[in-house]
Symmetry: C2
Subunit: 327 residues, 2 copies
Amino acid sequence: MRCRRCRAAAVIEIRRNNAAYCKTCFVQVFREHVKRTIERHDMVAAGDRILVAVSGGKDSLALWDVLLDLGHDATGLYLGLGIGAYSGRSREVVQGFAAARGAALVEVDLERDYGFDIPTAGARGARSTCAVCGLSKRYVFNRAALEGGFDVVATGHNLDDEAATLLGNTLRWQTEYIARQAPVLPAKEGLVKKVKPLHRLSELETAAYAFLRGIDYVVEECPLVAGNTQLRYKEAMNAIEAGSPGTKAQFFLGYLERGMPLFATADDVDLRPCERCGQPTTGRFCAFCRARAQALGERIDALVEDGEVVGELADEVLPAEIYGRTG
Amino acid sequence: MRCRRCRAAAVIEIRRNNAAYCKTCFVQVFREHVKRTIERHDMVAAGDRILVAVSGGKDSLALWDVLLDLGHDATGLYLGLGIGAYSGRSREVVQGFAAARGAALVEVDLERDYGFDIPTAGARGARSTCAVCGLSKRYVFNRAALEGGFDVVATGHNLDDEAATLLGNTLRWQTEYIARQAPVLPAKEGLVKKVKPLHRLSELETAAYAFLRGIDYVVEECPLVAGNTQLRYKEAMNAIEAGSPGTKAQFFLGYLERGMPLFATADDVDLRPCERCGQPTTGRFCAFCRARAQALGERIDALVEDGEVVGELADEVLPAEIYGRTG
């Protein structure tokens, strides 16, 4: 096989494009694709300060790499989750990348800054480990961006991630989550703009990019993810894709084109500041503060000045042994 | 295990209900479920004449059986598809059931009445065999019901069928198909009311019912269905269901509750009579007449009196060798 652009020997075939590329051209095509995606969706304005959420995996490091190469003002954000050796290795990889590229890196650590880690929160809380991890990331990304004066948070979600998430949300018809799966979520009161510049690129493409660019990334899955429903949705999507190539892209991109407009009205919620931390939420306390209180064994209402009993929270999320006695 | 209702030895466990039943009680529970579904969705009014589409499989015969037992005026409709021994055996089974129950049976045969069979239409036409088969069934069911003066067409689609179809429609975001997956489609000009009284029952339940009632049904899959995308969607749903029991029901019933209302506006099409057969369609000729013309090697426009060239059809569905010369 020959490279579509320069006719040199190809190293990767992208079936979706019906094309093969040599290393140099693939890296360039990937970069141009991200550039076009950013432009087409108005993801970043001139002079914007971008905060890139980097886990140490291929997707987020590939994204940071491209953003820097495209000349953007892109600071990394690493969140320490406290998942033993896995988190240690992730941190090293991220720090190594930042040093090699001379890029700015912000570090937040759940244990140091908030007093709990993900394994504890998963074990003690009412939500699954992956759910607590997800909401903690969303919380910290937004808060760090607000406090650091960033204009936009960029994450490395790829097409496989988005298709699997959409499948999960659709299987449960979680219309408010479906409505929020846009590649750009504009800023709104207390919420920084969020963008996903890799949402049209497959996992294979981001892995190939990271590999061909010689980026050192964490290959292992998170050790807590085994049996995770998201993984099962990915497997189901892969099985369907194997029989009907192109289904994944058709599903997610078809959603953006024809599905999303129908769900837009479902995402009409009123936000107000969390009574504990001030971050935007729909209830009295945000999901992060509630999960944190569970992990720390605290009674969240004891920290609120008026001391009012918050019955609906007890019924909703907090387990009886932590929260029941106030009711 | 003991029967939930009578404490006799159970023969079947229904996990969804968290209950087990003996043969007599299961048959009764199944029948009551169908009765309640019919009532809740106003599927059948007093005195309605029902036409039940029966393929010879477990679902449609179980449905016919229950409708007769519930005292409905339910005539069977068998459509001969011309799929060799499979169609022969299906017809025998349906005729045997009708004779044993003393029930009225209408027979339509594609070859005898329309001059083609499904294998030929699949091989010659622009659509897949399963697509031609599906549209032919929908056409014949509606036309036979109209011409026979029936008030409602009932089909045996079960929860597994509906979930797999919804998955396929959603993966492609075919919003107009999604909108039409309701368990009741009301009558509209030229279209008879359609109902699916088994839409909340799993394949396992309908098979158990047919087995326990001693109904002789065709167990084999259609020989043309191998590699069918619907089968792959069923497999994907089964894989997800194995990891997260209840997903199938959650998906389809959640759609009915929260999804369907969002798609309702997408199903706003204007129908007019097909210029060839008079049945309702969105274009000049209905999909059945176009598929039939392909199977017979006819030029569909040659049959239209004004002789006008129908350019958009040539581009859309008909292959060039049949249709191109008129353009």
